[in-house]
């Protein structure tokens, strides 16, 4: 019995193909045999040239036009069958030798070898010896008749050559048959069979049988069953005889099986599947009788045939089952060839069991792809279609098959197959394999790889599992912006406007339309994040892993990863696009366990999808503790030509710009073109938060540097002002130790420089101008604001130091005199009036700011009052000292605090107006009047505005180090401090008193001292001391006040209200002991003029002067003071004086005024 039996197989002429000469490498032998076996059917027509017809040829009526001669090549020959005579198709009628010349240099020996080999086939009528791949020496040798040397050539001409040779062989066979027939006709044929069969199926009848003639089919079946019956009867008898004669028993089974198989093959069609499978099952049952060791070959062939027939029938699983039986029979033999056969047979079953190597399942693969594509189109994957992805998951069987393939391939020493089988086993079934088994598989992978040459590729991936994690956009990728050719501001609306890639608003519009699109740029590195998982119990070392790109325009950079047992890891894989075009990244190339494999992302995606539906054993990522499966859609990636690439660098540090609160600083930013294309246009704008912290950008600097050539750079300045920390920030800071106060800038609070730039427009071939995309560079200004000087508190102090009036102060005014002409000379708009705080002042109000320096640097504080109001010249209140004290800044060392005093002068309003007291007085007025309410509101607004302007005029500037400077934010603190007495600060006194020397009839303003008196409350006293100092002039002044000399003086009273004030003025003079010098009884100062109860009327906003003369008897210090009792005080005055009752006398008093009287020299 032999494989490939059919009813037609009887018509084939058996040709033994024998390897001769030296050993032939098995791939070569396979190739040579295939070359020969290709010509199993030789057209009779093509034999004509080689065939010399006998004159009495019996073959004249053969179908020479359409017929053919069947040849059956038996590689390695076969043992002569005892059935040869009975079935002459079993006879070997020709012998073909195959010789691999490189391994058999001696042609004579080859010839002898062939003759020897052919001798074992006595029935052979023709013989040829083919020799392949001759060496040069053999080619030049004399041509031999007994060996046909195929000259070295390509496959095609070799095939043509072989066809010729086979036709020649066939023709010579035909001529031998002719001879034989001519000879046989005279003698007759003796048919000898072991069984002396009584009936036979004439082959000529069979030849006529059509394939689908039902009548004929019935005939065939009838004959088959008849034969079987007859045959069985005959064998019984025969065996009885043979056993009686002690001859070898002939198994009846093989003949019966053969017949059954022939019939099955003849009937083998889909429509007759039932019948055929019954026949085959019967045949398989017959195998039970084949129990002898000698019957193993028959059993093998039987299973092979059954498998083949089931395969033809379309019963793939049945075929696979019997194939596996075949493989098991092979595996029972203990040699490498059998193992190789077992392996090959098992490999054929892998399709049926769905464990095929990826090498063989390209077609299958594509169908999956289509399925995936259709699924993703519809958005949600239907569960049923997922199920079909995991068809036939008979995991037990699959594992058995893979294990058997692994075993047989190891035995057959085929390392690549064993690697592939072990890889498939481990990858697909790791959850079902014990840790020991997993390690065993890992070591067999390693062993297989040791036998493979380095760099071997295998179609089947092993571990790790790789899935696409994300597409982290490289900073340089993120900034590509499509240019709108119709807009000058081409970036507007084109790309993300903020620092965030994702905005919920743009997402809604984009998601429905198309896949995410990613643009990569030639020559700029890109990254893809993948996640690797090792769900097995051994350490996995991935020698290298890199992105697999089939389009050939990408250079991937390999990395190596080590994965401990049951872990997953995210790895950033990078590469550089090299050419313009589309890139698709189906997966990764992995070099692991010594072999290079390609891992496809979508396979793992399918697997994870199945795992999420419970169809697959386990999710490799989840069992490694990784997060839940989320499908990452692969964006469509296009590569564009190189673009300019600006890189920004903040000069002076990569980190954040550390600024103290309120600090103003210039930051230099360098833009470098790191690309290969010049930057031709650019635009810089601000975005993000805290944009007002950028005061200015030196636009002209960078604009003048355009175009920036590759490698070129430009540096421009950006002026920053640190914002003020919120209360929460300060508290958070305060809780830290000062050492830690340098903290990193928080996310999301920084402004960005949005730089949009683009290279030159490219000229397309057809003359059109195509705009390559522009780019956007967001330069975060990482401003880290730290607590600088801290205002501990602000409070209002009042000082009451009487003015020290020495001769130095008695200088006449150096500027033009002004006399009490009654003109509006509100002191506010006079000019600068300064105070020497050392000299003191009566009722001086000072704002004390206590500052603390918690940092580790020194601060210099500079307090200024910025008088830029409409009616006030821009002056510094401290100017008197500021001239020589310009450098006298307050220096605050670290961890020290200091107090800064700000005299609150010059803020008074020129007029004491009733409107400020509306609130107070309003309560007595009838409410409900709408106009009054509006007036009240206006007045309040005005008051608030005045307060605000007052506060905003006070500025505390600081410097630290070489280039840190800024301003303290103290508005709120000042407001809180001033709130209580804002009226006193802002509002002028109703009356201002000033003394002047009157000499030669001209009044010289010596001192003006006005005071509004509140007799009850001294702290309510308010001093606006207008001391006109001109120290240089004073030194040289000769007009001193001396004793024993008449001094003419004038007291000037100014009315600051809008109403006429009547009053009784009194002037007093006290000596150092506080004694009244004008005392009638013991006067030390003589006087002329009225000094008490002077009745005066001062018109609104006018001045009145009252002259008097004094004569000091004793040199020394005196103090002059004017006071007036107001007659019929108005409500405004009462309110200003904070009088409690309406009949209380209102007294206004000027500040004491010291005079030093010198003795006569």
């Amino acid at each position: 019995m032999e494989p490939g039996l059919s009813i037609e197989s009887g018509s084939a002429i058996r040709v033994a193909v024998l390897p001769v000469g030296g050993p032939i490498p098995s791939p070569c032998l396979r190739d040579y045999a295939a070359l020969v076996a290709r010509h199993a059917c030789v057209d009779l027509a093509s034999l004509r040239p080689y065939y010399k017809e006998h004159q009495k040829s019996p073959f004249a009526h053969q179908p020479w036009d359409a017929g053919c001669l069947r040849l059956k090549f038996v590689l390695g020959g076969c043992v002569p069958s005892p059935w040869e005579d009975f079935q002459s198709s079993r006879k070997v009628l020709a012998v073909v030798g195959i010789c691999h010349l490189p391994s058999s240099p001696d042609l004579d020996r080859v010839a002898a070898d062939f003759v020897d080999a052919a001798r074992s086939y006595p029935s052979a009528l023709a013989s040829r010896c083919f020799a392949f791949c001759p060496t040069d020496a053999q080619l030049v040798e004399k041509k031999r008749d007994d060996i046909i040397i195929f000259p070295p050539s390509d496959q095609q001409s070799l095939e043509v050559h072989m066809l010729t040779m086979i036709q020649d062989l066939a023709a010579s066979l035909l001529m031998e048959f002719e001879k034989w027939v001519l000879r046989a006709e005279s003698t007759g044929t003796i048919l000898k069979t072991p069984l002396d069969s009584q009936s036979s199926l004439g082959s000529e009848e069979v030849d006529r049988m059509g394939q689908s003639d039902p009548v004929l089919e019935d005939e065939v079946k009838y004959r088959y069953y008849t034969i079987i019956q007859l045959y069985r009867r005959a064998t019984l008898q025969d065996n009885a005889q043979r056993s009686f004669l002690s001859l070898n028993r002939v198994s009846p089974v093989s003949f019966e099986l053969e017949a059954a198989l022939k019939l099955a093959r003849y009937l083998c069609r889909r429509e007759l599947a039932k019948e055929v499978s019954d026949l085959l099952m019967g045949a398989a049952d017959g195998a039970k009788a084949l129990i002898d060791a000698s019957d193993r070959l028959i059993l093998l062939i039987l299973y092979i045939e059954i498998a083949r027939l089931f395969g033809t029938l379309g019963y793939k699983r049945k075929a696979a089952f019997f194939s596996r039986q075949v493989a098991q029979l092979y595996l029972q033999q203990d040699n490498a060839y059998a193992a190789m056969s077992a392996m090959q047979v098992l490999t054929m079953t892998t399709n049926a069991y769905h464990v095929q190597s990826r090498k063989n399942n390209k077609l299958d693969h594509d169908s999956h792809k289509e399925l995936r594509a259709s699924n993703t189109d519809s958005g949600k994957v239907h569960p049923q279609s997922i199920v079909s992805l995991f068809e036939s998951q008979w995991s037990t069987l699959q594992m058995v098959i893979l294990r058997e393939i692994l075993m047989s391939s190891i035995r057959a020493s085929d390392p690549l197959s064993s690697w592939s089988a072990a890889a498939r086993l481990l990858r697909s079934f790791y959850p079902l394999i014990t840790p020991a088994g997993q390690s065993g598989l890992a070591s067999s992978l390693g062993n297989s790889a040791d036998r493979l040459p380095a760099g071997t590729r295998c179609a089947d991936p092993c571990l790790p599992f790789i899935r696409l994690h994300s597409f982290p956009l490289h900073p340089s990728q993120r900034d590509v912006v499509k240019r709108n050719p119709h807009k000058k501001d081409w970036w507007t609306g084109a790309g993300p406007s903020g620092p965030f890639i994702y905005t919920p608003f743009s997402k809604a519009a984009a998601s429905g339309t198309s896949k995410q699109e990613v643009t990569w740029i030639v020559g700029e590195p890109v990254q893809v994040m993948v996640e690797l998982a090792n769900p097995c119990s051994f350490d996995l070392v991935v020698e290298s892993i890199y992105l697999s790109v089939h389009s050939g325009n990408f250079d991937a950079f390999p990395v190596s990863v080590s994965l401990p047992p049951n872990t997953s890891k995210s790895v950033l894989l990078s590469g550089v696009p090299t050419q313009v075009g589309q890139i698709s990244i189906p997966g990764c190339i992995v070099h692991c366990f010594g072999v290079i494999t390609e891992h496809l992302f979508k396979e793992v995606d399918c697997l994870l999808l199945g795992a999420s539906q419970g169809l697959v054993l386990s999710d490799p990522f989840r069992c490694c503790g990784s997060s839940k499966f989320k499908s990452v859609s692969f964006p469509s990636i296009s590569v564009v030509p190189p673009l300019p690439l600006l890189v920004a660098n903040v000069v002076g540090g990569e980190g954040s710009i550390l600024l103290y609160e309120g600090e103003i600083r210039d930051v230099l930013i360098t833009l470098t073109n790191a690309g290969t294309v010049p930057v031709e246009e650019a635009n810089i704008a601000l975005s993000g938060k805290n944009q007002d912290s950028v005061i200015s950008i030196a636009h002209s600097t960078w604009k003048s540097a355009l175009p920036i050539k590759p490698g070129g750079e430009v540096t421009f300045a950006v002026t920053l002002r640190a914002w003020h920390l919120s209360l929460a920030d300060s508290e958070a800071d305060g809780s830290r130790s000062p050492v830690n106060s340098r903290r990193t800038a928080r996310e999301g609070i920084n402004p960005f420089l949005d730089i949009h730039y683009a290279g030159p427009a490219a000229n397309a071939e057809n003359g059109d101008v195509s705009l390559p995309p522009g780019r956007r560079l967001a330069v975060p200004l990482n401003i880290c604001v730290v607590q600088g000087l801290r205002l501990v508190r602000a409070r209002l102090l009042s000082m009451e130091i009487p003015a020290q009036f020495t001769e130095a102060h008695l200088s006449p005014v150096s500027r033009k005199d002004y006399i009490s002409t009654g003109t509006d000379t509100a002191h506010g708009d006079d000019n600068l009036l300064t105070i020497d705080p050392c000299k003191g002042s009566w009722g001086l109000r000072l704002l004390e700011l206590e500052l603390f320096n918690p940092t580790d640097v020194v601060f210099d504080v500079d307090v200024a009052v910025h008088l830029d109001g409409t009616n006030v010249d821009q002056k510094l209140i401290d100017e008197g000292t500021a001239v020589d004290a310009a450098c006298q800044k307050t220096r605050i060392d670290r961890d020290y605090s200091a107090r800064v005093l700000i005299p609150l002068e010059n803020f008074k309003l020129p007029v004491l107006d009733a409107s400020f007291f509306i609130k107070e007085s309003g309560s007595t007025e009838p409410l409900g009047s709408k106009a009054a309410a509006i007036a009240e509101r206006n007045a309040k607004a005005e008051l608030n505005a005045s307060i605000n302007s007052l506060i905003s005029k006070i500025k505390v500037k600081w410097h630290s180090g070489r280039n840190s400077s800024g301003e303290l934010n103290i508005k709120n603190a000042i407001q809180a401090a001033l709130q209580a007495s804002i009226m006193d600060i802002l509002l002028p006194d109703p009356l201002t008193f000033s003394f002047k020397l009157a000499k030669n009839g001209s009044a010289i303003n010596v001192v003006s001292s006005k005071d509004s008196g509140n007799p009850d409350d001294d702290s309510g006293h308010f001093t606006d001391e207008n001391v006109i100092l001109s120290t240089k002039n004073a030194q040289r002044c000769e007009d001193l006040i001396s004793a024993h000399e008449m001094t003419h003086m004038v007291v000037q009273i100014r009315n600051n209200t809008k109403e006429i004030i009547r009053m009784n003025l009194s002037i007093s003079c006290k000596d150092v002991a506080g004694e009244n010098c004008f005392d009638e009884n013991s006067a030390t100062v003589l006087w002329a003029g009225v000094l008490s109860d002077v009745h005066l009327e001062v018109p609104p906003l006018q001045e009145v002067a009252h002259p008097f003369s004094v004569y000091f008897l004793v040199p020394g210090d005196y103090s002059l003071q004017a006071s007036s009792l107001i007659i019929d005080a108005t409500d405004v005055l009462r309110a200003r004086a904070k009088a409690e009752s309406s009949d209380e006398p209102i007294l206004c008093r000027g500040s004491p005024f010291h005079i030093r009287v010198v003795g006569k020299v």
Binding site: A273, K274, S277, M281, A284, D285, K288, F310, G314, Y315, K316, R317, K318, A320, F321, F322, R324, Y353, P383, Q384, I386, V387, S388, F390, E391, S392, Q393, W394, T396, L397, V400, Q613, G614, L615
Partner: protein, 115 residues
């Protein structure tokens, strides 16, 4: 003959959703595989046969050596009370494995009764 049996429920697309090796014969791993291999192979015959008859119970559709395969083909995945319970479970995805231990116990109890 060993009174061993292998019971497998196969769903659409050839996915075995339940497997149980029942019977008293000493278990040999190889034999268990063999059972499954035979059942898997018999699916080819079942597939053809199921369309030629109205009967749900196809007696012995296939055999190998001494092992006989008989099949119960159900219309819409329902044959037995326990199975129905499984298939009516809204959380059960057609095609995934039956992992309920309750179901397993029931099947084994039934098998003991009939073997």
């Amino acid at each position: 003959m060993a009174s061993t049996a292998c019971f497998v429920i196969v769903s659409k697309n050839d996915i075995p959703i339940y497997e149980a090796e029942v019977g008293s014969a000493p278990k040999k791993e190889e034999l268990a595989y063999q059972h499954q291999f035979i059942l898997h192979a018999a699916l080819d015959v079942v597939q053809d046969l199921a369309w030629t008859t109205n009967a749900m119970f196809l007696k012995s559709v296939d055999r190998f050596n001494d092992l006989v395969v008989s099949v119960y083909v159900t219309a819409v995945l329902c044959c037995e009370c326990s199975t129905v319970q499984i298939f009516l479970n809204p959380l059960y995805l057609p095609g995934s494995r039956i992992t309920s231990s309750h179901f397993d116990t029931k099947v084994r109890a039934l098998a003991r009764r009939y073997l």
